[in-house]
């Protein structure tokens, strides 16, 4: 092959690679069309604990242990100015037993500013748990959901330390880390996540943010939304409406 032929060959290959690259890009945009988010309206949450029980039933997490894929934090605040002087009482609901129905909570919460904040894995766009996993057991799906590959996970708990939201935990029976999957097996069948289904007041709304007509897109357009711990740079997929400054993590 002389020099002229070689140059011709290179010139012929260039457009071919460009075309294949372009085709790859087309495929990628098609597959990343869906981008799931959850919008939680704190004003609507009544602290009933239906979501916690439903999540644990659906995903085989033992009901009586105080760790859960999703949990509710109750805040009862006697507000004073400056706010650093306010008295904040906090309770966490993560089992089938509801501490908000106990006598002392009923007594204390009636005259204070009380609100309930459902928490779950935020499925960060830039997830610390994915970044620190030494065996690549945590990964993003095409829809942006963070999953744990429980066959690869070695249970070293780096992710538990790295997560700024405390959303990941060691499963007591499987002895690998576990966390919310946005009910990946349900949403792929066209069903809602179990916590969204069980919520009686519609405080949780789940959907595709890239679809302009979906309920989450409307909520995000019409309301002021905030995320937990924006300073961490994690860009969560769980957005809150009406979050108070007492909710820090």
């Amino acid at each position: 092959m002389n020099r002229r032929d070689f140059l011709k060959l290179i010139a012929g290959l260039l457009p071919l690679t460009a075309v294949t690259k372009a085709l790859e890009n087309v495929e990628n945009t098609e597959s990343t069309e869906k981008s799931y988010v959850m919008v939680i309206d704190v004003n609507k949450c009544i602290g009933c604990g239906n979501c916690v029980v439903a999540c644990k039933t659906e995903n085989d997490v033992p009901l009586d242990i105080p760790i859960s894929r999703t949990w509710i934090e109750g805040y009862s605040v006697d507000e004073e100015i400056p706010v650093s002087k306010s008295e904040v009482r906090k309770q966490v609901l993560s089992t089938s037993k509801n501490p908000f129905l106990d006598d002392d909570w009923i007594k204390n919460s009636k005259d204070s500013k009380t609100f309930y904040v459902p928490k779950l894995c935020n499925h960060c766009v830039n997830a610390p748990c994915v970044n620190v996993c030494p065996v690549y057991a945590r990964f993003y799906t095409k829809e942006g959901i963070v999953l744990v590959d429980k066959e690869t996970c070695i249970g070293c708990k780096y992710c538990i330390v790295a997560c700024p939201y405390g959303a990941t935990f060691l499963h007591p029976e499987e002895e690998v880390t576990d966390k919310c999957t946005f009910c990946y097996h349900r949403i792929k069948r066209g069903l809602q996540p179990a916590c969204v289904l069980a919520c009686p007041t519609g405080a949780r709304v789940f959907g595709d943010i890239n679809d302009e007509n979906s309920e989450v897109s409307k909520l995000v357009r019409e309301h002021r939304v905030s995320v937990l711990r924006p300073e961490e740079g994690t860009f969560p997929r769980v957005l809150y409406i009406g979050l108070d400054s007492y909710v820090v993590e």
């Binding site: 439903a54 009862s76 129905l101 690549y136 590959d149 066959e151 097996h185 349900r186 792929k188 009686p200």
Partner: protein, 137 residues
């Protein structure tokens, strides 16, 4: 002779290192994302336990006619997981909880419940709520 052994040993070490390096960073299932796509399939093969309100309506449509207060609440919020019930269609596969506690889980008067109607323990204590109130109306 001694120098030869050292050189051979070094070459052997480098070869072992290169083989391990190319496997771990080039061909192992965690790098080629085979293990991850395998896990996605395992995750998708899990069976849901909660069904959907649309499926309940196929048989129990009459319950929805004239429903006012709980019309936005999904059936399984009160009745528990229902996939088993949709297959067996018997009464014992679905939870029917008529106790006072079942209603008070949401309707007990505690702080922060402004969006729903609440009662406290002084409201006809000891009598089941369903005696007077029909949750499906």
């Amino acid at each position: 002779m001694k120098g030869k052994v050292i050189i051979l040993g070094l070459i052997f070490a480098v070869v072992v290192y290169l083989v391990l390096f190319t496997y771990v960073f080039g061909f192992s299932p965690i790098v080629t994302e085979e293990s991850q796509s395998k896990w996605v399939e395992i995750e998708l093969s899990k069976k849901p336990k909660f069904s959907d309100t649309g499926i309940c309506k196929e048989c129990h449509y009459n319950l929805y006619l004239g429903m006012k207060n709980h019309s936005t609440v999904n059936c399984e919020a009160c009745h528990g997981p229902g996939v088993e019930h949709t297959i067996k269609r018997s009464k014992d596969t679905i939870e029917i909880n008529r106790t006072r506690d079942a209603c008070l889980r949401c309707h007990l008067d505690i702080g922060g419940r402004n969006v729903i109607e609440v009662v406290n323990e002084t409201h006809n204590p000891g009598i089941l709520c369903v005696v007077c109130h029909n949750p499906h109306k």
